[in-house]
Subunit: 460 residues, 2 copies
């Protein structure tokens, strides 16, 4: 008889578990439960639909129920999991009960809703799924001024998208720097300059204390620095693991609020890891590859990799999910902003006093058309172990961040980084990569502060 695999959540973590398991075996009934209407779509693509670069939200949707039914996978939409009975091995939902032999919890995140007056007003949006994005798009049509609360990567991607739609855009950030969770101030100032030159207003060091309404709809944001008239608000102040369902079933959360798992991604209850319940995606806590302490990941790519690990473990291989260094790239307008590992703030919070260096270079040979300035920052610990990097340019960021991702995860030092062999061809690189220059500065071979040593320019 077939075993029953039930997956709660049909996002970037849940669906790949289902389809990877199915690709390898027909020994499971597979049911995927989601309380949402839409599934199998790209949330990361939403800002690009809002900006008009992608034509329609429909473009973001990959596959429908029929596709999964053809694979013998049943996706149950608008189905809210209400409780998990880990003894009887049943998930109870508003549409009946799902018994399971193996359960996967992939419930993702939910937006943080701050307890401030007016946060539930019409015109105040919390965008974290396609349903909300569609609502927001409707609201946008009647709005001239859009206020974004929170200057993280997603808030700023959206700010730029609104600006592309010719809105007056105001971003309010509590801390003195934008993108403070991934960038150091010297790097975030590059992004800030770019946003300002795009006509976006950024108000930092400012707390939002309430929203005012007119005719039942938001009309102003009250802040520690005064009142701002607005037609619409997008709250983008972070997310929290969506783990109440699991917690009510006795599944343990860690210090971060995410579900605790073992290295095979099995959850823990009453101090013991459960052999038949896995969790993956942004609802779990993971081990940071720099600090070796629990942390949360907000990356879809991490969720997918966890899903593959869970699928392999369900299939009977013993696969470990390694500590993460979270390489990520955000694209705001034509600026690519990459980060991996920890930034200075995060390092210090974790007891690591970073040494750091910045190098600027060009993405193409000096004489080649359309070369862009690229700024590379690298951080090391006292023993020169790489702990983080931040890179900003209009091209060429992804490949470098991915290289550094691997190096950070392998404990490579700045001395080793200074010796890397990189490729050179005039249209896409310079002879000595700015990463190498940054490493050479850190270890003291290259002295000058912000420019390439002359003998390292594009003389080849």
């Amino acid at each position: 008889m077939r075993k029953r695999l039930v997956v709660i959540g049909a996002g970037p973590a849940g669906l790949p578990v289902a389809s990877q398991v199915r690709k390898e075996t027909d020994q499971f009934d597979i049911d995927v439960i989601t309380d949402r209407q839409y599934f199998s779509y790209s949330p990361c693509g939403i800002p690009f639909v809002i900006s008009g670069m992608i034509k329609s939200f429909d473009n973001l949707i990959m596959r429908g129920k029929k596709h999964y039914e053809d694979m013998d996978i049943f996706v149950h939409t608008n189905t809210l999991a209400e409780s998990i009975d880990t003894d009887k091995q049943i998930v109870n939902t508003n549409r009946g009960s799902f018994p399971y032999d193996v359960l996967v919890i992939a419930t993702g995140v939910k937006p943080f809703v701050p307890p401030i007056r007016g946060v539930d007003l019409k015109g105040v949006y919390f965008m974290y799924s396609l349903e909300e994005a569609i609502e927001l798009e409707r609201g946008l049509k009647d709005s001239n001024t859009v206020t974004i609360v929170g200057a993280g990567a997603i808030g700023l991607e959206m700010a730029y998208a609104f600006r592309k739609r010719h809105k007056d855009v105001i971003v309010i950030e509590r801390s003195p720097h934008i993108m403070g969770s991934i960038l150091d101030p010297d790097m975030s100032s590059i992004v800030e300059d770019y946003l300002l030159s795009s006509g976006i207003t950024i108000i930092k060091d400012t707390e939002v204390t309430a929203f005012e309404s007119e005719n039942g709809k938001v009309s102003a944001v009250i802040t520690s620095k005064g009142k701002i008239k607005t037609d619409m608000v997008l709250m983008s102040i972070g997310v929290r693991p969506n783990v109440e369902l699991a917690a009510e079933a006795g599944i343990e959360r860690g210090v971060t609020g995410g579900l605790v798992t073992d290295s095979s991604l099995r959850v823990r209850k009453n101090g013991r890891f459960m052999s038949n319940i896995y969790a993956c995606g942004n609802c779990i806590e993971v081990i940071g590859g720099v600090t070796f302490r629990p942390t949360l990941s907000g990356l879809g790519s991490t969720a997918v990799r966890q899903a593959l690990t869970v699928a392999e473990n369900i299939l009977g291989t013993n696969t470990v999910f390694n500590p993460i260094v979270s390489p990520g790239v955000s694209i705001i307008g034509d600026l690519e902003i990459g980060a991996v590992g920890v930034n200075s703030k995060r390092a210090i919070e974790n007891g690591i006093i970073p040494k750091e260096s910045i190098a600027k270079g060009l993405t193409r040979a000096r004489y080649f058309p359309k070369g862009e300035i690229i700024t590379v920052k690298i951080l090391v610990d006292k023993n020169y172990r790489l702990i983080g990097s931040q890179i900003i340019s209009k091209e060429g960021v992804k490949g470098r961040i991915d290289s550094l991702s691997f190096m950070i995860s392998r404990g490579v030092t700045a001395h080793q980084l200074a010796l890397i062999e990189t490729s050179y061809v005039p249209p896409v690189s310079s002879v000595i990569d700015p990463i190498t220059i940054a490493a050479r500065k850190l270890i003291g071979i290259t002295r000058d502060k912000f420019t390439m040593p002359e003998s390292m320019d594009n003389s080849t």
Copy 2:
């Protein structure tokens, strides 16, 4: 009293030695000797001037004598080093003698001239420096049909450049595949298809046996497959280390024909490494990081890195030049062709039986405009150690080749590669990188041959 540093050669190896040493100390007189007129220019940029993408050869020239004189470095052009007396420590040239305390040999390469009839005819070019490129450009104006002998990277970059200038272009290659020194046949066929669609004729498996002339100028290429009328010929069948000067001074060559050095890049004479003579650039032999056997590098980027090593050693640090894996990218039209490590042929020649896998992916999320197909091949040895990679796409090749360069040089395995964390953002990547897919195929986690597993597509 100042010591005397003499550098023979003013290319990508010689000049950086001079300027790096000068940046750190004024304890040396520095003289750079070159038999050429032009120096401090980018040879890699030549095809892009020929194609018209770069306006003029002048754009390739970085700096003149004055710049170096201001740095207290004297560049002696049109000065042919005729002999080195290692006992008296003197370099004799056609313009007088240069005594040295420290000598650097950076004489680069010279084109291989095959012993075939008519190879010295007018209209037959061997392009390996700016002087020759300028000559060739002059010859091009009166030519309609251009024949290139040799389908290596440079020959094909030039073929494409000629085609851009609306010439009829014929490429003749001796072996059954183009770019055979870096690509496997399954990868080179992608390049070949692209060249054919650009209107370039490629004749493979064909030996050139002679050139015919008319009015004292080349008029036809005689091949093993017949006669081809042509107005001009570019010979691009490889280069040899330019080491006669050093060899006549008793400095030893290795099995490859390049100068032998120790790991500090000091040359050897009478079986002993010399404390005051270094060599760097493409005239030396280096150790391959996959085979750990002597090999030659044709890369300017390697030459520059060697120059930095020599400069540091002259300055008194003890710096080692590591084995190389030679990451390189060629750009032909809008095709980026990257390779690193060894290809199958080179592996087998060195006693390594490769296992290999190919994955195709997209450079952007599926719904994102202008995404390009990217083809990634990776090769491992019996123990799954990465030994080489070949990547072809219209974008995103450099970063991936550079990542793999580091991994190959560090002995990373396919199993480790399958676990790498890469960044994801719709405009420049897919959730699971094709490199990861290729690694997963190699180790048997991902089964299907040429497509991405469905759960790994851009569903985020």
